[in-house]
């Protein structure tokens, strides 16, 4: 048994497994709340709440009547349900902070996921400027243009 054990092969295998784990980590829990999927997903993809801090979601929900230039207002009950789901699942929603909190200072309340330092770093490195100008992309909020499984929280295809 020991004779068949080949150290260099084992090391290479371990390395490959580790790097694949390290690169295949752009997964977020799919949205489990029907109201959130439906209402937040009416004009844009319903973004996973893990991508913004709690205080950002609060501010977004406070300002729905002028939501990036659109009136996205909702009824009180719907709005309260959505708010509680987003806050509970925010980037800083658990006892440890998600990677989207990297580089976020206490005084910062970003409103766009595309302004989050983690998002910027991930996209600046590999997305050429011309890709953003593609008419099929249209907007940086259109995740599914490139991440075809973004709706399900899978952004591994980068």
């Amino acid at each position: 048994m020991l004779k068949t054990f080949h150290l260099p092969v084992a090391i290479v295998t371990a390395f490959l497994v580790m790097t694949s784990i390290a690169t295949a980590d752009e997964r977020y829990a799919p949205i489990q709340n029907e109201m959130v999927s439906k209402e937040c997903g009416a004009c844009h993809m319903a973004f996973q709440p893990q991508m913004l801090p709690k205080r950002s979601w609060e501010k977004i929900m406070d300002g729905l009547s002028d939501h990036f230039g659109e009136d996205a207002s909702l009824g009180d009950k719907t709005s309260a349900d959505i708010r509680s789901y987003l806050v509970a699942n925010a980037a800083d929603g658990s006892w440890w902070s998600g990677k989207f909190m990297r580089g976020i200072k206490d005084h910062m309340t970003p409103l766009r996921i595309t302004e989050m330092p983690y998002w910027v770093r991930e996209h600046n490195e590999e997305v050429p400027a011309r890709a953003w100008k593609d008419p099929k992309v249209k907007s940086k909020a259109n995740c599914v243009a490139c991440h075809v499984q973004a709706n399900r929280g899978n952004y591994d295809d980068d």
Binding site: G41, C43, H44, E70
Partner: protein, 147 residues
């Protein structure tokens, strides 16, 4: 064997019939909800203006096509997102597809009054910078029904 064949044939016929009935039932249910929503707007229009007689698809077409530019700069007209033709698939500013506005293309549109009111509330504010009147809503729906 022959019996089995007949049975299969019968089963196919019955399935087709049931499918036909259920499709017809949903279509007419959709049409009924659409008509009752328009009726509601007609009642409101009458209260607004006793001289009101009927909605006009032509006025609805104008409301949809004209460049208003009295609301948000990003959305000067309905066509900014819905394209010039109610038969075409539109696109939001965030790049998400919008099903065609015409009933012939999207038969289950305008069947839920809450949803209809929600989008009139939002989009009239975005495009016109003010709420739509019941007359405008009725005209708009009448135009879309005819498309």
């Amino acid at each position: 064997m022959n019996f089995l064949k007949k049975f299969r044939c019968l089963r196919f016929g019955v399935t087709a019939l049931l499918l036909g009935i259920s499709t017809a039932a949903t279509t007419s249910a959709d049409a009924n909800s659409q008509l009752s929503i328009i009726e509601g707007y007609a009642k409101e229009s009458k209260q607004h203006d006793p001289k009101f007689t009927a909605f006009s698809a032509e006025r609805g077409r104008l409301l949809f096509s004209v460049r208003h530019a009295t609301g948000k700069p990003e959305t000067p007209s309905c066509t900014s997102c819905h394209t010039k033709s109610p038969l075409s698939v539109g696109s939001t500013r965030a790049g998400k597809e919008i099903a065609p506005m015409a009933i012939s293309k999207t038969p289950d549109r305008y069947t839920d009054i809450k949803k209809v009111e929600k989008w009139f509330r939002r989009n009239c504010k975005s495009v016109l910078g003010r709420p739509c009147t019941p007359l405008e809503k009725g005209d708009f729906l009448t135009f879309m029904m005819n498309q």
